[in-house]
């Protein structure tokens, strides 16, 4: 969009925000399109990752069209951002379409898997209790359908989980690993966490 206001046919709306090409802009301007609540980070507690960029000149990736260099591959797969960490350092970071690196981008169902993993870690550490009510942590949900649900109800293996949510998180041959999903109450509360 290069003019203001954009022509109506070019405008991103709730009717087209997931449709290409509108999703290119919409997926990192979600809060301007979808009603949502911001969860700001703590600017005084930012964990900066060390950077150690690698030269990806020799990196070729096989794809249906043959072998492509990394940047061509990313463009081909409509990538807005790619970050790779190895041994705790950022070794590759790309924003092919100039999305600013600090801009939140929608994660769709990754949010459920990610928050499920974090919840699993917190349960393991004793910082979150599976038997506790969701409303013990988020009292503002007491007037919603989440009233009475426990934290455990929001994780897989329970009657409250939907198959689509379970499918969204796939733990590959996780002999000892666990892959919890779905604190839906949280996902309904954040811009980058709209559910599918």
């Amino acid at each position: 969009m290069h003019e203001f206001p954009p022509k109506s046919a070019d405008q991103v709306t709730l009717a087209n925000w997931r449709t290409s090409p509108f999703n290119r802009w919409a997926f990192h301007h979600v809060r301007e399109v979808v009603p949502s609540a911001d969860i700001p980070n703590d600017p005084h507690d930012v964990w900066r990752l060390a950077e150690e960029p690698v030269d990806t000149g020799g990196l070729l990736i096989e794809n249906d069209q043959g072998a492509l260099g990394l940047d061509d591959f990313l463009t081909n797969t409509a990538t807005d951002g790619l970050v790779v960490l190895h041994h705790g350092r950022i070794v590759i970071e790309r924003y092919p379409d100039d999305m600013p690196s600090e801009t939140p981008h929608i994660l769709m169902s990754v949010s459920k898997s990610l928050l499920g993993l974090l919840a699993g870690i917190q349960i393991e550490r004793g910082e979150l209790t599976e038997e506790a009510l969701v409303t013990d942590y988020l009292p503002e949900l007491s007037e919603t359908a989440y009233a009475g649900a426990t934290v455990r109800h929001r994780t897989p293996g329970s009657r409250a989980i939907s198959p689509s949510i379970s499918r969204a998180c796939r733990s590959v041959t996780a002999a000892s690993g666990t892959c919890l999903t779905s604190p839906v109450p949280y996902s309904s509360a954040s811009a980058s966490m709209a559910s599918i």
Binding site: R18, T19, S20, N23, R24, A26, F27, V54, T56, G58, L59, L60, I61, E62, N63, D64, L70, F73, T77, A78, T79, D80, G81, L82, V83, V84, L85, H86, H87, G88, V91, I92, H105, I106, L107, M108, S109, V110, S111, S113, L114, L117, A168, C169, R170, S171, V172, T173, A174, A175, S176, G177, C179, I196
Partner: protein, 62 residues
């Protein structure tokens, strides 16, 4: 990726959102996209192959 020992976490969101973690190799890949297709098996295979290729490149430089 899949030929390596240990669990791999593969988190998937429609329209090309991915978080892939291989703890044993301290490898993390996050990809966000605005793909036209919401969900198609081949897209996920291509992405897993990309992750495996990048992990191999980082390990060997080749």
């Amino acid at each position: 990726m899949l030929d390596k020992p240990g669990p791999v976490f593969f988190c998937l969101g429609i329209h090309g959102q991915y978080l892939i973690v291989h703890p044993a190799d301290e490898f993390v890949l996050a990809k966000v996209s605005s793909r036209a297709r919401a969900l198609e098996a081949n897209d996920e295979v291509v992405t897993l192959r990309m992750a495996a290729r990048i992990r191999e490149f980082l390990a060997t430089g080749l």
